[in-house]
Subunit: 341 residues, 2 copies
Amino acid sequence: MREWRYDPIQKRWIIISTTRQQRPVAWQPGEEVPTPQVDCPFCEGREGETPPEVFAFRTGGPNEPGWRVRVVPNKFAALQIEGELERRGRGMYDRIRGIGAHEVIIESPDHECCLSDQTDAHISLVLSAYRQRLRDLMSDTRFRYVLVFKNHGREAGMSLSHPHSQVIAMPVTPRTVAIELQSARDHYARKERCIFCDILDQELEEMQRVVELDDDYATLCPYASRFPYEMALLPRRHMADFATLTDNQLSSLARHLKRVLQRMKHGLGAPAYNLILHTAPNTSGTQGRRDYWVTLGEDWHWHIEIFPRLTRVAGFEWGSGFYINPQPPEEAAARLRAIEV
Amino acid sequence: MREWRYDPIQKRWIIISTTRQQRPVAWQPGEEVPTPQVDCPFCEGREGETPPEVFAFRTGGPNEPGWRVRVVPNKFAALQIEGELERRGRGMYDRIRGIGAHEVIIESPDHECCLSDQTDAHISLVLSAYRQRLRDLMSDTRFRYVLVFKNHGREAGMSLSHPHSQVIAMPVTPRTVAIELQSARDHYARKERCIFCDILDQELEEMQRVVELDDDYATLCPYASRFPYEMALLPRRHMADFATLTDNQLSSLARHLKRVLQRMKHGLGAPAYNLILHTAPNTSGTQGRRDYWVTLGEDWHWHIEIFPRLTRVAGFEWGSGFYINPQPPEEAAARLRAIEV
């Protein structure tokens, strides 16, 4: 069973997906098992144990050894790629069939080498795979958003320890992204300036929360950080869509990202972390329709959120949607800047 | 340092509070310590180790033994009660002084007896303490919302194992509550009916997701549950404000809640869980002002959310604000109903 269900009070979609019960890390209490390493289906030579690849940087034929980055459908996909959406209602409730893409980007054949320890060139390949999947999935007019993210470490929700990222393409715009799009649109409507550019300007003037800075990118601890050592990475020049990055821009991003991840790894004892890419919504199916979240380009600015999982989210956070952060982001940024990389 | 900071993109307030760094369970990696039980400051006879009590059901004088439920300010309060709000802006950013109440409701002198194992009469006393704190704090016109919640078990964010609930009164309306208020208001504007009442009607007709039902209250697994075994408890007759419950209604709620908590405890192996009360916003300071979230009464319906912490929130949930739930709520409700209590 795979189904999108709408919560009419909280205004959010939930995926009910029983296929997820079969994952290596089951969700029921007492059923957690150690990640199997000897039988890892993401390792080179075991290509037959995943669904057939949808993309790879490789020599040789598909689903054989010889790859450097490999993208496969998630074997325990929360969503299915085939079919019509079939939007239905029943009384107070709305649902859509569990349509979507759920893919795994296997970042390297090496089971042990985490993303931050890869070379700049290899990280650039991983980011190229992000870009390729965004371009490909955004041509599917059923999808309104493509979310790329990474769970590193068990505390961050990783279920297989072989380094990988994930892609979920979905027929509805994520609530988190919709709030950001609305804020950016409101700001642009009043000022004809990008809200992210304005924030970046202020941050580079104050230089209190900047962690990493080069000609192309800036990473900072946000003014209203939810978590200790939370970071946001943005391109310094305005740019809405990650999928339009050039190869040179990707190489530069790889260098920057590696330094940021290295600071976190060495400064904080290799913590579990989440990495989330918020690129522009998919407008390939809009054709002027008003029920889509869109962007003018000028009013959106792609960014990456990175946060180590050091604190627990508890009743206050669940009940309010607000967060208590025990560490001023100015202090977090100063500590991260001081790490030698 | 205690400060409310506004995130202009995500439209949410964050509390930066360095006093939280001193708690028994520190947030930094590798610094977690077992909960001290022999030195528990919440146990009877150690009343001097907490800040002076603000309320108690007791015999004898304040801050002495002889109490059954005791409410004290949180020693490591994220917010401070004294002072003006001092709203300030600087460029893109807004802040308020870290004003608010942060209290602990010590549910019993017994260190070991969890809420679900207390008698109906004692649970009723705990709920009376909730009501008393709501009434008292909602008379403070600086506060727009009073959130009552409970973290049970370490996975749910509990830092001291002596059974307790928490109260946070805040000068801003929680985002989660604001979304619910908006949905309820929109529904009421179109239909002149309460959205929660309409949902309850449909649930009691379908009887697929109801866990516990008596003359006064219903507990169900929501149609769009985020988590396995997530539950919502509502009064069956329309009622906006928890603080207006009569003693009889509290007694009936205590009986109902105990059965729900017992189902969860015995059916799921005594899991960690969060419990959150969403009552009406505080309108004591509104005086017709439009910058307040208010309710007409007819358009809001208090409710309690209860969810065991069985799954991890990962990149997809953080990046989208949506959730993947591996269990249909119909199945969760059937399993919980089948538990003998």
